[in-house]
Symmetry: C2
Subunit: 246 residues, 2 copies
């Protein structure tokens, strides 16, 4: 196994460059931090390019790809999180093509810009059994370090597609889906639940666009208290729960 002792090693520099969206796009790769996330990516069939193993790591360190040992200093230079990690990896970003037919509950995110919100919503969609997540191109990158961390690996569990949201809503509507969005002027009554429900969550400050709202059932979650709104990830999670519950 190769051993890297310098932060200026080209493979370390390349891995670090993947913190930036620009390089993730250019290379079609992303950077994964931490034992749990690396193993989630692996078991879900994500193609790893290089795994970086901290010297002295006691866990299983045999991977079906290039694997290199790195010193503590180099591993710390790789990390973006505060907590020191034992494993990191460079992985090929899955390039998922949106299918012609959808199945199960679908979550759509339109211009959700906080990586924590995007990651948390992917995590909730995964936990509550949604079939897929569709992101508008303006959403936070699901493969940025922050989003990956918030998703806790769920981004590897269910298909995450990037698409124009009105186009996706039109396709869902044509297939008999009930598309729902949160809207201040919406109805406080939910539409009948079917096994084809889709939920659209909009931007943190501005909500959903008019174009997208026009393709959805507008719902206003009753809020008897004083806060005017909910955090976007909380709103989306409550709605996913409401749509999946018996």
């Amino acid at each position: 196994m190769d051993r890297i002792t310098s932060r200026t090693n080209p493979r370390i520099q390349r891995a670090r460059s993947l913190r930036e969206s620009k390089y993730r796009k250019e290379t079609g790769c992303h950077f994964i931090e931490g034992d749990k996330l690396v193993r989630e990516a692996l078991t879900s069939g994500t193609q790893l390019e290089t795994v970086f193993v901290r010297e002295g790591y006691a866990g299983e360190a045999s991977f079906p790809c290039e694997t290199v040992l790195v010193t503590d200093g180099v591993m710390d230079a790789l990390s973006t999180a505060g907590t020191p990690q034992s494993l990191c990896a460079v992985a090929r970003t899955p390039a998922l093509k949106m299918p012609d037919a959808f199945a199960g509950m679908v979550l759509l995110l339109e211009n959700v810009q906080d990586p924590g919100n995007v990651g948390t919503l992917i995590r909730t969609a995964d936990a509550l059994g949604a079939g897929a997540v569709i992101l508008s191109p303006q959403c936070a990158d699901p493969f940025s370090p922050k989003t990956l961390r918030a998703s806790m690996g769920s981004v590897y569990h269910l298909p995450v597609w990037v698409s124009d949201i009105p186009a996706a809503l039109r396709a869902l509507n044509e297939q008999g889906y009930t598309c729902l969005c949160g809207h201040l002027k919406g109805s406080e009554t939910l539409p009948p639940k079917t096994d084809k429900m889709a939920l659209l969550v909009g931007n943190e400050g501005n909500g959903v666009t008019d174009e997208a709202a026009a393709l959805c059932y507008a719902y206003r979650l009753p809020m008897p208290g004083r806060a005017e709104s909910l955090n976007a990830a909380v709103f989306g999670s409550i709605m996913l729960y409401e749509l999946m519950r018996k």
Copy 2:
């Protein structure tokens, strides 16, 4: 109106020191950033000590307390958020004594350490009409800049008490409350809903302590998907929604 042009002005230094928990405790004050939060604090009766107004601010800038003009550079030095603000303030932290009798839905947080989670949960509790929030002393400070930001001012809308959690749960149980917590080994059936429901949310990594869990109905939220758990703020928000919904 006084005008401050230097970042080393003692009033600016004092305001900046309130970023640290230690100084918030010592002084009984906290720092509020942004027009919306300052006005929320004011209308809720929070006592402001000093309001800092950016030079050229076009809004209403008459406050029932010391008000000083600051230059752009000084305001930027005061800000902890990325976005530039027009108003900031130093406020007395409400010292709320837990009452002998509770009313409405109660949210308890035990060792929830992420300021974003604490703030988001206070915001959800407020939106969904909870009566109060009780935090263990080990929770993230509800008056830290990050928590305040995530709470969107909700910390000024409902009482937020700090208390030993088992003691609070015992008091709630004695008053006929049904105290519920999330637990991996809990039942997947909810207890009957009454108008006296309390929800306990535990630490992000470790969940609720055994001592607290023993005082609660242990509930396991059904999760048909692959993610093993939910974000703490999401779990708490879904449960608050479930408990308040008709």
